[in-house]
Amino acid sequence: MSVFIIRRLLQSLMVIVAMSLIVFFGVNVIGNPVDILINPEFDQEELERAIKALGLDLPLWQQYLVFVKNALQGDFGKSFVFGQSALKLIIQRVPATLELAFTALIMSIIIGIPLGLFAGLKPDSSVSKAIMGGSILGFSLPTFWVGIMMIMIFAVMLGVLPSTGRGQSLTIMGLEISFLTWDGLKHLLMPAINLALLKISLVIRLTRAGTREVVLQDYVKFARAKGLSTRRVILVHVLKNILIPVVTVIGLELGNLIAFSVVTETVFAWPGMGKLIIDSIQMLDRPIIVAYLMIIVFMFVTINLVVDILYSVLDPRVRLQDVKA
């Protein structure tokens, strides 16, 4: 157990170090750091001052150490476009992205599990076949295109939902959230469904597979034969059996949702960090790019670590495998 956690911690540390190296060398070796880190609109004198200030005249390894030191202090430089600290700009956008990601996550559960259960319990009904067909489609649909089509149908043709942007938001405990207002909720609905689509398909498949497995087991058949109501059998056995895999996958998919929010945020002009990074790439706002990459890596590593450790607590088989390997 402890070995497992130590190993995962070491791995996480290595990932962060490796990624900082990759980002650093991406900026300094593949690109020209002067281009990347310094505002191209600077004149010669400003340029030289900036080169000195950023330490770009030092040897590469020293520069890397400086980069790491600054990064640890949360200093990734100032955005060319906004003139503010890159880190701060990103942090400001995090709540909007997380709101979207978590809403999508919850949606994928409350839509995916019932559909998956149904498809698992009545595999031969035509509704189930439609559900499974739909889930295959869900894996193949381009998220951004579905987003556009949703806007076309619900905003342009039917006019029932606002097309883009984040609605009215409230500030609670310093966090800006929008799902507590009617306007905010209306704005949130389409982007969240759009982002959730892929995960809904995934949850449907997992739930169905888990349900099939349980339903075919003798004790469930037996319980049914004994006259227990079908409903209770389902609740007690099936849900118990499918929850662990579903919850695990969902934990791991949270990171994925955050990454994919880049697309959804662009389509729906949702003011999260994904939209910010795309805008920054297009405007060559490099300090934000570097900061975003490091923050997202850190977020990912943390999420994966927490999920893995939680999983190893929940399911001892993970640890056994680890010991054997």
Binding site: G26, I136, F139, S140, W145, M149, A259, V262, V263, V267
Partner: protein, 310 residues
Amino acid sequence: MSVTSKIELIPELSAEVALEGETSLRRFVSDFTENKVAVGALMVFLAIVFVAVFASLISPQNPYDLAEIDILNGRLPPRSESMSGTTYWLGTDDQGRDMLSAIFYGLRTSLGVGAMSGFIALCIGTCIGLTAAYFGGRVDSLIMRLVDLQLSFPAILIALMLLAVLGKGVEKIIIALIAVQWAYYARTVRGSALVERSKDYIEAAHCLAFSNRRIVFRHLMPNVLPPLIVVGTVQVAHAILLESTLSFLGIGLPVTEPSLGLLIANGFEYMLSGKYWISFFPGVALLITVVSINLVGDQLRDVLNPRLRR
């Protein structure tokens, strides 16, 4: 060795006939064709490939030849006629391009980029995975760390990182797509190579004093490739989707190489005024392509997976 001493024909030789006359290829084909949906998907996919390859021959117009398009024909809805009398079955975009032709050309770019990146990633991933499995030890754990590292991040993020550093361009996006895919191939190859490597025929090859290179490429590799077919089809579908997504975001292909994603992005701004067709039809083409590849891949997996075999 001396001249053969003519030996008596041992009874076993004549008594035991060959057990399986049927070749594995024929069995494979008959298994695959059992699923009619998959066969249909394969047909559709082949048709798409055909359209993509011969786009310049079968398109009603060359959408990127400025002499052939007229901005006055811009944003015409489907089935409208141009001033010169040709019918635009799927309408035109803002520049007056025939959408059908643009889609044909877009398919060519999308499939080309997807197939090219997939193929290179397959080659790289296979070599790396084989190296890891064959040499084991330090080499293996180093490579697998790298693979795990990469697979712990979603593909779109890796591509985003690379494109943020590299910039736009066809070769850049191909590099990004390769970087995204190689690890899947490497992991799959390593997995099956580890199984194969422990089999006696590899030890026999060692005994026969073959070079490492010969053992890896002549003996190990042919036995490791079948599962790659499945990964490969799924990966190409992913690559096509990813490329279109990145192009839609404006960080993928340049405007001079319009793929389906870029066509959809172009139409996006006209969407709000109800001109749906500029985005809609390229998306349908993309969807059909990806679904058909996925269906073929699903069936391939079922056929090649021995556990599901009767």
